[in-house]
């Protein structure tokens, strides 16, 4: 099976503080990797290193012709920035050299209403803004989606819908997914592989092997309960 991403001996440090240390993993094309771990374990830094936004040591190898869509956790946008969601998406379409009609397709895909998309982006609710960022990432047809889930999800009910959408994109468009998630039950059901980061080390493997009560207790320093849909709790 072809890999879309190969990471070898990746290290990132800020000044003298190591954030990621000698991390190696691979992501198969069309698969989904969930990145979990407590606050400060370097999940967001890992995604930023993968897009080249923070300096890193080691090797990051994307498959040739990989197009990345990135959904950051948050952005500081002034409330009065005169830029509508539609204008923001059209700018991406323009840079990607694709027709502006693609924008309406993507908006429908992420389920963002037209009247919300025509508001200034700084006035959108947390959930709407996240959908706009997802639409931005999907404009131009990425082959890989990097998704940094907000710690405190703004509209909880929307979260499961988002994962269903990821699943659909993966099935229909062969998208590879790398997502930072805090919803362990969703990770358990949707992810092919789980990368668990702690401040000391990292584990990678299928959810069944990684999401064990003992490992989660060790990594998070407290018991982590999550719901497995067959009626039992892990």
């Amino acid at each position: 099976m072809r890999n879309v991403l190969e990471v070898e001996h990746l290290s990132v440090s800020f000044g003298k503080t190591p954030v990621l240390d000698d991390l190696s993993f691979k992501v198969e094309a069309g698969s989904s990797l969930a990145i979990i771990g407590p606050n400060g374990s370097g999940k967001t830094v890992l995604l930023k290193a993968l897009i080249g936004a923070v300096p890193a040591k080691g090797t990051i190898r994307w498959a040739p012709k990989t197009k990345i869509g990135y959904v950051p956790q948050k952005l500081d946008i002034e409330r009065d920035l005169p830029l509508t969601g539609l204008e923001f998406l059209r700018a991406k379409a323009n840079v990607a050299g694709i027709a502006a009609t693609e924008v309406s397709r993507v908006l429908a895909l992420v389920d963002l209403q037209a009247d919300a998309a025509s508001q200034p982006i700084g006035t959108l609710s947390g959930g709407q803004f996240q959908r706009l960022l997802l639409a931005f990432a999907l404009t131009g047809g990425p082959s890989v989606l990097l998704f940094d889930e907000p710690t405190a999800s703004v509209d909880e009910p929307g979260e499961e819908g988002m994962y269903a959408l990821f699943h659909k994109l993966q099935r229909e468009e062969g998208l590879s997914l790398l997502l930072i998630s805090h919803e362990l039950s969703l990770v358990y059901h949707f992810a092919d592989q789980v990368l668990c980061l702690s401040r000391r080390r990292a584990w990678i493997g299928p959810p069944v092997a990684i999401l064990t009560p003992e490992r989660l207790q060790e990594v998070y320093g407290r018991p982590m309960k999550f719901h497995v849909h067959d009626g039992s709790s892990a």
Binding site: K48, I51, G52, A53, I68, G69, Y70, P72, L75, I77, E78, D80, L81, P82, L83, T84, E87, F88, R90, A91, K92, N94, V95, A96, S118, Q119, P120, I121, T123, L133, F136, A137, G140, L146
Partner: protein
Amino acid sequence: MARVPDDLLLPLAMAAAAGLIGSITVMRRMTLASDAISHVALPGIGIAILVHANPTLGGLAALFLGTLLVWTIEYKTRIPTEAVIGVVFSAALAVGGMLMPGQDLIEALFGAPRSPASAETLLGLVAAIAVIVFALLAESRLVITLVSPDLARTAGIDVARINLLFLLAFALTVALGLQFLGVLLMGSLIIIPAATAKYLARSLRQMRIISVAIAMLATVAGTLLAPLLRLERGPLTIVVAATLFFASLMKPRHE
């Protein structure tokens, strides 16, 4: 269509360039930094006068050097940009002031009343059109970059390069206005119309239109009214722009 008088053609082109570059400058939250950067033109003008060269070209050369310095500091060093801009560019104003005799200094700071030579007008028009074309063609890349450099990178935008091009376009715009408005006031023609537009606009399109319209209106009003009121053209232009800004504040804040 009414014919635009020749002595309004260059001011209008300059105002359009200032309105467009100003929109991006204000959206990038560079309001104060940009004003400081424009001051670096003064020593360039001073040196040009000393060696009997064209003052505007001297100012332009200094502006290009100044913006290259800002860009290098931002991308190649860890020095805080804000502090360096504050110190270097105010010092530039002082050095420029030492180099120039009184009348030249006043004109360099606030703009000269005389009309440019025809060669200067032609060059100015070419430069203004270049800035306008750049601002429109690069708008998508500039806007994505100001929202988030990380998103810009994943969209395939060379962030350092687009920022350098923007700073150079900004420097060229300041140089365009040196003769009309001077070192101190040209920054205001870039910032005030755009700040007004930002207050009124709900979209990028509105921002662009309002900013250009106010810059043009202030420039035309300043140019036409100055002889009638026996006032200096540069300061009058900026007073008109500032009046429009304060008038816009009367409009209730949009939510």
